[in-house]
């Protein structure tokens, strides 16, 4: 378990990084926090010619308030999101999702951008980005693209990111301050990838749901946006919602598979329950408040 030989570069600016990526013609891999990449290198499942360490690029770090939301630099460590009082206030779902990423130790090094860009289908952060309608900002020497998270993922570990592109920011729009946060996952051990999980948010104005974002993780080849359920929820008042019925609609937007940890049938059965329970609990808490 030693990596194959590679060149190592540590650019200090996004321009420099993009130039290296362009020059490498697909032979470069970006190193962020390394919590997934380092094991893959050691297993020789990843054998890049050039490893581009972006941890020295200051502009890729940090959490910023921007107009209408928050912009998180891809090199922001996961632990920083958990500790951010601004995010705790404005995007509690994101904070909750990050709390479930890996372990305390891996969150000290693991980054937001690394997890978003990797596209592990059972991971929390890509699904959170899809549900919360985040935009992924990517740059290359060819220019800048802003890609809605829902269009970013193509398959397991596959994204629309071109080989010369670097994720430079993830923008999460604000949800109304009284939005309902939804998050739940089922994992065998704390820190494991979820057997099934869901994340979402619902904005409410004048008693009606005006905006809904829902996504599954561990339920298909990518984070799975529950679009049909989102549509169904719009315009509903909380006491009109039948959580079981919504969950049964939401599950139609999944495509889980068998793996040694759980079967597809298991994921469908338990996923529906988990979704309904999460929705039910969130509504009852709001109604009690």
């Amino acid at each position: 378990m030693k990596p194959a030989p590679f060149d190592y570069v540590a650019p200090t600016s996004v321009e420099e990084a993009c130039a290296i990526l362009a020059e490498a013609h697909g032979g470069a891999t970006v190193l962020a926090g390394g919590q997934t990449l380092m094991p893959l290198l050691n297993l020789r499942m990843s054998q890049p010619f050039i490893l581009v360490d972006i941890s020295h690029i200051a502009e890729l770090k940090g959490i910023m308030r921007i107009d209408g939301g928050a912009r998180i630099g891809p090199m922001t460590r996961q632990c920083e999101v958990i500790e951010s009082s601004a995010l705790q206030q404005h995007l509690p779902v994101l904070v909750e999702a990050v709390r479930h990423v890996g372990h305390h130790q891996t969150r000290n090094l693991g980054t937001i951008g690394g997890s978003i860009a990797l596209g592990e289908p059972a991971a929390e952060l890509p699904a959170a980005a899809v549900a919360l309608k985040a935009t992924i900002e990517v740059r290359s020497i060819r220019g800048t693209r802003n890609i809605p998270a829902a269009e970013f993922y193509l398959g397991p570990y596959m994204t629309v990111l071109e080989e010369d592109e670097l994720v430079t920011g993830i923008r999460f729009p604000d949800w109304s301050l009284n939005h309902i946060a939804l998050f739940r996952e089922l994992a065998q051990r704390p820190g494991d990838f979820a057997l099934a999980g869901m994340v979402g948010a619902m904005s409410i104005e004048s008693g009606k749901i005006t905006r809904a974002g829902l996504a599954w993780f561990g339920m298909g080849p990518t984070p799975m946006r529950a679009s049909a359920a989102e549509q169904k929820l719009l315009g509903c008042s909380l006491n009109d919602i039948d959580p079981q019925a919504i969950a049964e609609i939401a599950i139609t937007d999944t495509a889980p598979f068998d793996d040694p940890q759980a079967s597809a049938d298991y994921r469908l059965t338990v996923g529906t329950r988990l979704f309904a329970n999460t929705l039910r609990d969130a509504i009852s808490i709001r109604e009690a408040a």
Partner: protein, 927 residues
């Protein structure tokens, strides 16, 4: 929700400690002391917890090179060609070896029992590969990075063949090892249930047929395998190797490589867990040793986790069908077991686990038991031990008893009480002729139930079920043979060498070895106690074959029992010498002297007190002051040979909640009530039990080595091979019974028990929780998918064991049918008379012998001769069939019934060895 039942039994309470001391007081030849029976802090911990341990990878020698292996990517096939030229050109590569390069060494890859393998086993693949991960070539390079680069460039062309992966494949599939008749690695017992037993089973009021499928397990030591080999000077070969006994490794290497043992030194200061994987070197370690001899530079190989999970020997993977007959009161009438274990391609021992059958019903009033037990070769990594290798007996018995209790309508505790032996029933002998004198599973169960209110739990369980919450209680009991010595060449006594230094401090060298067992602590407690010195003044050395003497180290829950006895005996010999010398110096009789706090005191005469250091100084430095004939110095040694076997007993209870919506299991409470005799250090005992129980939880809920249909491993990292995390392990509660054993000191082994009894305890709890939904098929691990399938009453995708066809004992094994040819034109004498070279397949390997037959009509006479001697017999001849009996007394009194058949120059048949069942005999006419 608070844990149901009454408040937790007090962990580590004063009560249990004082009971412990009472137990110790009663123990043969031992008194409660300042240290024995105390929770003395471990001597090893400050070093280990501050990163100052010395493991193999901590060893770095001048000029040392590194090794990586090129491994087979296919499970079965022939090697067409190996091209190392590209790899050899990688800068920093010193050499690349294949089996061809190692073939000049005649290596005998012997088993733990020192028996040659049944099938040709070589360090590197020899012409064929038989499992994914089998080492094919080895690269020696400046560092591991370069070695791995070059290993990936070794080009091997294979002619791939369809592999044999599962036990089912082995029964019906192609032959794993060319030249063998079938895939049976080892077989004992009867292929058809004997008539009398079959009748007893059939006529019983209740007959339970219970199947258990146990997954394959990776032993997963925290420290993977590894070795550093160096040749020191012209002769001595020094190995730093992570192992379970440096002495056994030295002996193994000496025998396997044909080297004098004096030329081998094995050092293993600290070991990060063994669990059965590290009993002796196997393919890779042997290849590294040979490479070091060939290349003559120090070499290092550290197995990485990928190799450890996919190419190391593995364990378990068993299937068993147990039939148990009961009368209407739930009393046992008869039983039959059909057991199979996957041996992989190159097992460390061709194994069919006879111990499973020996101990299955030993603690119970079971009138009759029969079995068929088989090991199967497959194209998977080889079989090796894992903590409690015979644990299937407890798993299948305890789960079958619960199934029976539900079926018959008896309480699971009551069905155990009706059938378990109690102390007053002993001494007795089991139906498998196991001698039982002082087992206490029933008494452990009593103690457990005295500390746990079952009725209260049942009330709560009932109430919770109405709320759709499913609590379950699992109970299990077991016995375990520990401290075995004398039955197998490698299972010996233990040696203690102890000296009082001229400084008055105590130094001991032991034959023990710790992979976390804390022997440097427990042995020091004994010496401090028996020599009346402070615990801090005792140092115990172990972990080096040049120190102490032979023992197999940590294998079979033995060190506390045997080495503990050795330490007591050696200390007492030394104490007697100290007293003799002190009495001479003080001019009193030895009986008046007491040893305490490093002082020698005379009863009623305080001014005569001397320190141990003063007496030691005299012993070493002032020969004139020694009594006549007193050997100078203060040293003693004792090799303790214990009774052949010492039994430990236990009863455990566990409470779980199963989430009916997800199939997730939450362990709410776990109580261990064990009897390990004298507990030298209750914290060390509880540490051993806790570790074993944690492994049991892993086996029941999540661990699994899996393969796809091409024999590719499906869990290559700990992302996919799930070990229990700390969050999966409850706080265990402990009760200690402490019935002294017959061995010196009264200890009983406790190393493996948790891993054995924990499995059925948890399975039973889960099954009890899910009673409203039906029986839970015992196919481990019990994943959420499997449990939810039971709860929902539909198959969610993982086929439960119950739906697979049950393999009945009477189902014939794959047999090459050769019609019996009886030539009539030849006289009986011409066909049979003369000498035959024959081999008897036994669990200890093939036993070679020569048979001499003389016929006279239907009368047969002759003898069997082997290196052990010659035994005459008489018998009968019918056609080409020979029948004769031999009565032997060693290793036990038994009549061997031979049934052989002659066909041309070949002879084959069976030898029935009483309760041990039948073994295969084959051979040919002596030239």
């Amino acid at each position: 929700m608070s844990a149901p039942g009454n408040p937790p039994a007090q962990r580590t309470s004063a009560t249990t400690d004082s009971e412990q001391q009472n137990g110790a007081t009663k123990a043969a030849g031992i008194t409660a002391g300042r240290y024995i029976g105390q929770r003395t802090p471990r001597k090893e911990d400050p070093r280990l917890l501050t990163g100052r341990g010395q493991f193999v990878d901590d060893i770095s020698l001048p000029g040392m090179l590194h090794i990586a292996f090129a491994r087979s990517p296919i499970a079965r096939g022939a090697i067409v060609s190996i091209n190392i030229e590209v790899a050899r050109d990688v800068p920093g590569v010193h050499a690349i070896y294949t089996q061809e390069d190692l073939a000049s060494f005649k290596v005998d890859m012997i088993s733990f029992f020192l028996v040659s393998p049944d099938i040709k086993t070589t360090p590197l693949a020899d012409g064929r590969v038989a499992y994914v991960g089998e080492p094919v070539a080895m690269v020696i390079a400046d560092n591991r990075y370069i070695a791995e680069d070059a290993a990936s460039l070794v080009e091997v062309e294979y002619a791939e063949e369809d592999p044999v992966v599962s036990i089912g494949d082995a029964r019906t599939g192609p032959i794993v090892h060319p030249g063998t008749e079938d895939n049976i690695a080892s077989q004992m017992g009867e292929e058809e249930i004997e008539e009398e037993l079959a009748a007893a089973l059939k006529s019983a009021p209740h007959l339970i047929t219970h199947k258990v499928v146990h997954q394959r397990i990776s032993q997963s030591p925290m420290e993977t395998r590894g070795v550093v080999v160096t040749r020191e000077g012209a002769q001595e070969l020094t190995l730093y190797i992570t192992c379970q006994s440096p002495h056994l490794v030295a002996r193994w290497v000496s025998l396997a490589l044909g080297l004098p043992q004096t030329a081998i030194r094995v050092i293993a200061k600290d070991v990060g867990g063994g669990f059965g994987l590290k009993n002796h070197p196997w393919k890779e370690e042997t290849a590294v040793i040979l490479a070091a001899l060939l290349f003559d530079r120090p070499l290092k190989w550290i197995e990485d986790r990928y190799e450890n999970l996919t190419a190391s020997c593995q364990a378990r993977e068993q299937e068993m069908v147990l039939q148990v007959a009961f009368d209407n009161d739930g009393r046992l009438l008869a039983s039959h077991g059909d057991y199979s274990v996957n041996n992989g391609a190159f097992p460390q021992l061709s194994e069919s686990n006879i111990a499973v059958h020996m101990f299955l019903w030993a603690a119970h009033k079971m009138p009759a038991y029969g079995f068929l037990t088989r090991g199967w070769y497959s194209n998977t990594p080889g079989y090796a031990a894992y903590r409690g290798p015979w644990g299937m007996e407890t798993l299948i018995r305890e789960t079958a008893l619960d199934v029976a209790a539900r079926r018959i309508g008896i309480d699971p505790i009551e069905i155990r009480r009706r059938n378990l032996l109690r102390l007053e029933d002993q001494p007795t002998e089991s139906c498998m002729q196991v001698q039982l004198e002082d087992i206490t599973p029933a008494e452990c169960l009593d103690k457990l139930l005295a500390n746990f209110d079952v009725a209260e739990f049942r009330t709560e369980q009932e109430a919770q079920r109405k709320e759709k919450r499913y609590l379950g209680l699992g109970i299990a009991t077991y016995i375990e043979p520990t401290g075995g010595a004398g039955s197998i060449p490698t299972m010996t006594g233990e040696l203690a060498q102890v000296r009082i230094e001229p400084t008055g401090k105590v130094t001991a060298t032991m034959s023990t070895h710790s992979q976390g067992h804390g022997t440097a602590t427990t042995m020091a407690q004994i010496f401090a106690d028996r020599l009346g010195v402070s615990y801090e003044d005792v140092t115990v050395f172990e972990g080096d074959s040049s120190r102490g003497g032979f023992s197999p180290g940590a294998a079979g829950s033995r060190q506390g029992v045997i080495a503990g006895g050795a330490a007591i005996m050696a200390a007492d010999l030394l104490a007697a010498r100290v007293k003799q010398l002190a009495a001479h110096v003080m001019d009193v009789t030895p009986e008046l002297i007491t040893m305490d706090d490093g002082m020698l005191r005379v009863e009623g005469n305080a001014e005569k007190s001397r320190s141990l250091a003063e007496i030691a100084n005299i012993a070493y430095g002032e020969p004139d002051r020694l009594p006549a004939g007193f050997e100078s110095g203060l040293e003693a040694q004792y090799r303790y040979q214990p009774p052949p076997m010492t039994f430990s007993s236990a009863a455990n209870a566990c409470i779980v909640e199963v989430d009916a919506g997800t199939g997730f299991v939450k362990i709410l409470r776990w109580i261990s009530s064990e009897d390990c005799g004298t507990a030298i250090n209750p914290s060390v005992v509880e540490g051993q039990i806790s570790g074993g129980l944690a492994q049991a939880i892993g086996m029941v809920l999540m661990e699994k080595v899996g393969f796809d249909e091409r024999g590719n491993p499906t869990a290559a990292t700990y992302k996919d091979y799930h070990l229990p995390a700390i969050s999966d392990i409850p706080d265990f509660e402990f009760l200690h019974a402490s019935t002294p054993s017959q061995s010196v000191g009264g200890m009983r082994g406790v190393g493996e028990g948790g891993a054995i009894i924990g499995v059925p305890t948890l399975v039973n709890a889960i099954a009890d929780a899910l009673v409203p939904f039906g029986e839970v098929p015992v196919e481990l691990p019990l994943t959420p998918t499997k449990l939810l399938s039971v709860i929902e009453g539909r198959d969610l995708g993982e086929k439960p064991a119950g739906e697979q066809p049950v393999i009945a004992a009477s189902q014939p094994v794959r047999v090459e049918v050769t019609p019996a040819v009886i030539t009539t034109d030849e006289s009986t004498a011409a066909r049979i008379d003369g000498d035959w070279n024959m081999a008897l397949s036994t669990p200890m390997g093939a036993q070679e012998m020569t048979g001499h037959f003389e016929t006279s009509g239907e009368a047969l006479s002759g003898y069997l001769s082997s290196p052990e001697g010659q035994m005459a017999f008489t018998g009968t001849v019918t056609g080409n069939k020979l029948q004769f009996d031999l009565r032997v007394v060693k290793p036990m009194k038994i009549t061997l019934k031979y049934n052989l058949e002659v066909n041309g120059d070949r002879i084959a048949g069976k030898c029935k060895m009483g309760i041990m069942g039948s073994m295969k005999v084959s051979g040919q006419r002596a030239p």
